[in-house]
Amino acid sequence: MRFQTQAGLFGGSNMVQKTSSLRIEDVSVRYGNNRAVENVSLTVNGGEFVSLLGPSGCGKTTLLRLIAGFLRPDGGRILCDDRDITTQAPYQRRFGVVFQNYALFPHMTAAENVGYGLKVGKVQRSEIAARVSRALDKVGLSNVGDRYPAQLSGGMQQRVALARALVIEPAILLLDEPLSALDKNLREEMQVELRLLQKNVGVTTVFVTHDQEEALTLSDRVAVMQSGRILQIGPPRDVYMHPQSQFVSTFLGTTNLLPGKVRTASSDRVEVAVEGYSLTATGQATIGSDVTVAVRPEYVIISRNVAGIPGIIQDVLFQGHRLIVIFVTKGGKEVRAFAPASFSLSRGQEAYAMWKPDSARILAD
């Protein structure tokens, strides 16, 4: 089940594939009065893996279809290697696409599926056979080339779809939730393999998902989308650790949001009163203003020591490697915290919630 790890493995030659960049400039799509994508700009560098992450209806799939050329934007430009491709048809762009349901041609065998792009590309028959068998080999499916999609498992179909998209050596690889139909174990395994494969082939990749963990695991950069716009884009760690809005903060992982009042503010550090108890957070705010403090459960410390916000432990959930502590402040706000499994905390205990100085942020909205 291992993808091979040498460059140019899907190509006709052994040369390292040249990587292409993609630039989206101020692109919009409207359906009637409904704006599916609104003034989106995005640059994907050569060889980069960028995820479009967001809830359903946020415009991520529409954006992917724009890049593939299935849709024309109502405004803006799309450039590949600084060439304007806005008006090019999908068959001129030839970006490999892997769909959520794989979209394997049901009347063609796995090998015919993989070879289709080469066949229409007028590659010689002998070369097609060689490249198809090499591609199938690389995704670990060398012995199922003569089977039809219906005879393959979901994971196998997924690999065939990937091989089919990569064998044409696309400038850009587009993935539309390709892992979401797989069961959890296989999905996690495929995440790692997909990442390895993408890095080894070196193809510039745009990946659409609603699964934040998947986006964080796979991407060089994550673009979080909502209502047709990109709210924030950056490396997974940055976006996760420094969300700039409440939406990003809650969509990426679990976040505790607490209302507070700013007591003191220096350059990037704020002392904020939550239910009258003083805690620190990063971010900018004016003294005296009402703000929302966001802090991730992994940074919340619940202890019996008298420090932080007092409350009561409502429940403790054992997850094997850790505990989830559900804590309710005196003011009635729920705060979740992860604690090591060895901690002895029990339901109904009075306790205090606090966090490390750099782990909480003041959010704009």
Partner: protein
């Protein structure tokens, strides 16, 4: 209690189904049985058993000629219907345009328009054009009547084809025409086969258009049978020919069943509204 009632209901339902089946099949049984009766006029119940009328029919060249003519007309009408229906069916299923609903209604209109009106209109039309000869008028008329059925089955099949498949083929470098022939049409094929069979049977079975639009000297079998029955009354020869037609159509249906399941054909086509 409920179980007993359920059993009773099942029995009543079974009886109803049996009655309906009998009602549908009874005329066929009458024809089949009458065709082996020794009397020369149509009689039921049969007065004995003979295969005389079948051997007799075999000697009558006009039936054989009419049968061959029917097959030819049905073949060409089916081919023409399929060309029209594949184009229209896939276009309607695949594209959005202003007036789509109107166009759809238009292509289905031969089903709604009474065949008699259609036949008279076409007769007038072909006569004035001076084109009233050979099998051309019949083929065109049959195609007009058969195409709507094929459009329905093909459109239904095309709706079921995942659009991602076509998009995917485009992204792999196939031009739209290529996608149509490599992906869409192969996947719509069950609908095309169903439409072809519907069209063929409709054409082969058609009496009204056949009588009105047959050029002198060449008439399809159903038309010939009707005219002979009207002229000379019901004879056992007619019953024998009809019996052979029943068997022929039965074989056709078996063929359909073998290739794709009769329910599918029935489910994807409109009901005949005669």
């Amino acid at each position: 209690m409920t179980k007993g009632l359920g059993g009773l209901q099942t029995a009543a339902f079974g009886l109803l189904i049996a009655l309906i089946c009998f009602f549908i099949l009874a005329p066929l049984l009458v024809v089949l049985m009458a065709s082996v009766s020794p009397t020369s006029y149509l009689s039921f119940p049969p007065q004995g058993f003979t295969l005389r009328w079948f051997t007799e029919t075999g000697k009558l060249v006009r039936y054989w000629e009419a049968f061959k003519f029917s097959i030819q007309v049905a073949f060409f009408a089916t081919t023409l219907s399929l060309v029209i229906a594949t184009t229209v069916g896939i276009t309607i299923a695949r594209t959005e345009f202003v007036g789509k609903a109107a166009l759809q209604s238009f292509f289905l209109s031969p089903i709604i328009i009474p065949e008699l009106a259609l036949a008279l209109g076409l007769l007038q039309y072909f006569s004035q054009m001076g084109a009233f000869k050979g099998m051309m008028p019949l083929v065109l008329a049959h195609a007009a009547v058969c195409a709507p059925y094929a459009i329905r089955t093909i459109q239904a099949a095309a709706m079921k084809v995942d659009r991602n498949l076509e998009d995917c083929a485009l992204s792999l470098g196939a031009k739209p025409a290529r996608v149509l022939f490599d992906v869409t049409i192969p996947l719509v094929r069950p609908g095309i086969v169903a439409g072809a069979i519907m069209a063929f049977v409709m054409s082969f079975d058609n009496v009204t258009l056949s009588i009105f639009l047959s050029a002198p000297g060449s008439i399809p079998l159903p038309g010939l049978l009707y005219i002979e029955a009207a002229d000379t009354g019901l004879s056992s020869t007619l019953a024998a020919v009809s019996a052979m037609l029943v068997v022929f159509m039965g074989c056709m249906m078996l063929l359909v069943e073998k290739f794709m399941g009769l329910e599918k054909v029935a489910a994807t086509s409109l009901h005949e509204n005669k």
